[in-house]
Amino acid sequence: MIKITFITADGAEHVTEGRAGLSLMEVARMADVPGILAECGGACSCSTCHVHVDPGWVAQLPEKDEMEADLLDFASDVDEATSRLSCQITVTVDMDGLRVSIPAEQG
């Protein structure tokens, strides 16, 4: 099992079961985690699936590409080190225990 925890802006922890091959955004959607809007459905065309990755996990995730970096550069509540678009992170078995927080506002 790949346990992934989403922490919503109110501090609530949503522990979900990830599946390798799905995106982090899709894992959240399947578990009905609130706050990840993902309006473009994972096409890396909006920035409404923005999450902050737990600092301890940042280095273990694949790096963001230019498109993702550019979108994030203009999103709200961005932290250069920890901000990611959850639709661009494909879940792997190595991500068991991953923790990410969802900002209060998307877009």
Partner: protein, 410 residues
Amino acid sequence: MSHIAVIGAGQAGSALAAKLRTLGFDGRITLIGAEPVPPYQRPPLSKKYMAGEMALERLYLRPTRFYDDQDITLVTDTRVAAIDADSMTLRMEDGSTLSTDQIALTTGADPICLPPALGGDQPGIYTMRSLADADAMAPEFVPGRRVLIVGGGYIGLEAAAVAASKGLTVTLVEMAPRILARVAAAETADWIRAMHKGHGVDIREGCALNGLARSGDGPFTATLSDGSTLEADFVICGIGVRPATALAETAGLALDNGIAVDEFGRTSHDRIFAAGDCASFPWKGQRIRLESVPNAIDQAEATAATMLGQGAPYVARPWFWSDQYDVKLQIAGLNTGYDRVIVRPGDKPGSQSHWYFRGGTLLAVDAMNDPRAYMTGKRLIEAGQSPLPEAVADATTPLKSLPLAASIAA
């Protein structure tokens, strides 16, 4: 117990039903869809799903158990034939009835088909709207086959990109003088046309389809308005959609380019509401109808709040996207009424943005592989701010420090 029926189980219907629960509605919710599957995302149908890069399961908006968990009765494969507005009763196509207290119409839009007079009623001609459309068409996408695409809007162009990428021979005909005539400036059309030509797509503009003939299982012969003919193994029709208003008509609702609603999602009947592609609504002094996912979600959620007596006016923040080949096109705003387009080269090769102005007011931005320009334009438009056009045109002025026009005092 109060009962709300949501008719139409697409993006808007699904968002509206879910929002009713989030806002605390504890009555009965019935979500009724004509298609045999749970609510799913339509945009990938003409993009990643059609390209075979996205499994069916990933199209679904929610896991099936979501509807049980939320106590939403999802009724699929069912069409509502009529609404009796006086008694708030739905009559299904199978003759059964359902009594409700409030109704939300999220019926979406239906693709316009080629008229039978042009040969549009033959097998081998497809529209691109539903999962069933995409699945029916999939076996045709074999390298070397010839496809004729009728219509040079975003759907037709996305289909052309998937087909060309799969090694099909693609011809696209557009009746108007140029592609994207209804939705984008000539500058954007030029850019997109050049991209498709680079991938071998034969684009013929100002060229109407006069007829499609087919003998048996053989290829189609298309007759075009320039007098030429061409052969195609199958045809995709992307000539637009019409808001699905038939049910609203049975209820006697006011229509105006779709089901007319106010900024709260209210129709002309006090217990019937509408949202998404099927609904036209007031926006900046005009009445508009948007065919887009963000509008479907946002308007549906605002309407759900209205239905529970918690409504606030819905202010649309239009944005759109399209994926073609390796190009991501992102559009912020609505360009209706523009009188000037500023072209701004992007930071990277192949990236560019087109900024639509009316006078000094920024209306919209088309960004090709230029998410920074898109995000900048979106933020400015939503804040009601306009950058100076000459600064936009100067690529050496960073996006983050574009000088703004002095706001025009109201």
